[in-house]
């Protein structure tokens, strides 16, 4: 079947099977670099995208679901070559080492701050519970998100 959707602002059209996951289609068929495959079972958050503004695991979403919708990856947060505030905060706080978790971390942070601009530590940890980082020890990530929350 053929699906059409907006990917980071651009129209795309691609042939998929009804059983294909969105992650597979983004990575293997379209060659997107701004989503990662970690576990394929909802445990790591490396594959996160926004679908019509809502946070989704692309490994747990079937490709057919995004037909006619808007998919945003972390790359789509930049405007005219300028990084968004949350992306800059990750840079400034050294919140990415290998960077594998970074797409999911930034998208989760964005959605959290939209809902709750001044999260407590408890709320931050709870929101990020679906995102694993094996490098930073989380502290720089928390600092980056808090630095945006404060502004």
């Amino acid at each position: 079947m053929r699906i059409r959707f907006k990917l980071d602002g651009q129209d795309v059209e691609v042939d998929v099977k009804h059983t294909d996951t969105l992650l597979k289609v983004l990575k293997d068929k379209i060659g997107v670099g701004s989503v990662n495959f970690g576990c394929g079972e909802g445990s790591c958050g490396a594959c996160m995208v926004l679908i019509n503004g809502r946070l989704r695991y692309s490994c747990l979403t079937l490709a057919g679901y995004v037909d006619g919708k808007e998919v945003t990856t972390v790359a789509g947060l930049a405007r005219d070559g300028e990084l968004s505030e949350i992306q800059k905060a990750f840079l400034e706080n050294d919140a990415a080492q290998c960077g594998y978790c970074t797409p999911g971390m930034i998208l989760t942070a964005k959605v959290l701050l939209e809902k709750n601009p001044t999260p407590s530590d408890e709320e931050l940890f709870d929101a990020l519970a679906g995102n694993l980082c094996r490098c930073t020890g989380y502290i720089p990530i928390i600092n980056a998100i808090k630095s945006v929350a404060k502004r």
Binding site: H18, T19, G45, T61, D67, F125
Partner: protein
């Protein structure tokens, strides 16, 4: 149903779902939030000929009435947290599902079908004596959640039926839910306990419902404990005695996450925490 030839079906309402189910039966996989269902496909456990996605079916709602609560099957867990007037047990169970994305994707209906270590919402609903509303070729059927689980992954649902809603009649006055995971902010449920209580004027239990999750494939009610409580005033002695009976005659899961001994002990601890807290508040 524009994509009917494609295998990815997006019926617009329950009638359309039912007519697809009548035609396709178990050849099609129903997908709500997809958090469990999509893994069945990506791990090649099943290879459905078609997907029936519930994304367009209007079953995302919470209706609070004077003496009952109705929750649509595709209501995401996140909505339970935002809704006012839901029993504490259900709210706590919803909050206990970790991470923003999962809370927004996972649905109440999907949780009822998903085996341990999932089923937290199902455990709370079981303690609230919830009733499932099923729709199929033969019309509407109500099945108490306590009669829904027939065995591991075996449900009291027909091949042409779907779950459309869960209903709680006469929501109990007091309810609670506690679970234990290996880490504070995430991880699978090792054990969970949910208790609902109605007391009479003298502080005696008119109705007591106790559900245990994580110990068996699907949650179960500790009927023996409920009988011990009914008509009695809750005391530490009664609670301690009841705790011993929680897993009586139950074959508790024993796996890499925790031994069955540990799960049994843990269930008792969670149960006592809930009830000690309850009696300490009078």
């Amino acid at each position: 149903m524009s994509l009917i030839a494609s295998g990815y079906l997006t019926p617009a309402n329950v009638q359309e779902v039912v007519s697809l189910k009548r035609k396709l039966r178990d050849k099609a996989l129903v997908v709500a939030g997809g958090t469990a269902a999509v893994q069945l496909i990506s791990k090649m456990i099943i290879e459905p000929q078609a997907i029936i996605s519930l994304e367009k079916v209007p079953l995302n709602y919470v209706k609070i009435r004077a003496n009952s609560i109705e929750i649509g099957a595709t209501t995401p867990i996140a909505r339970l947290i935002r809704s006012r007037g839901l029993p504490d047990a259900l709210k706590r169970a919803a909050e206990s599902i970790h991470g923003l994305a999962l809370k927004d994707m996972a649905t109440v209906g999907g949780n009822i079908f998903t085996p341990a270590p999932a089923g937290d919402i199902a455990t709370a609903l079981l303690a609230l004596d919830a009733i499932l509303i099923l729709r199929g070729g033969g019309g509407v059927r109500s099945v108490p959640l306590s009669k829904f689980y027939k065995g591991p992954l075996q449900f009291n649902i027909r091949p042409d039926e779907i779950l459309t809603a869960v209903k709680i009649n006469k929501p109990p006055k007091h309810s609670a839910f506690l679970k234990q995971t290996p880490w504070k902010y995430s991880g699978p449920t090792i054990a969970s306990v949910s208790v609902s209580l109605d007391l009479d004027r003298n502080g005696k239990a008119r109705r007591a419902m106790v559900a245990l999750g994580g110990l068996t494939t699907h949650p179960y009610r500790a009927k023996k404990v409920e009988k011990m409580f009914t008509g009695k005033k809750l005391t530490e002695q009664l609670i301690d005695g009841a705790a011993q009976q929680l897993t009586d005659g139950v074959e508790v899961i024993d796996d890499a996450l925790a031994s069955s001994w540990y799960r049994r002990e843990l269930a008792q601890v969670l149960f006592k925490r809930i009830l000690y807290d309850f009696i300490s508040r009078g």
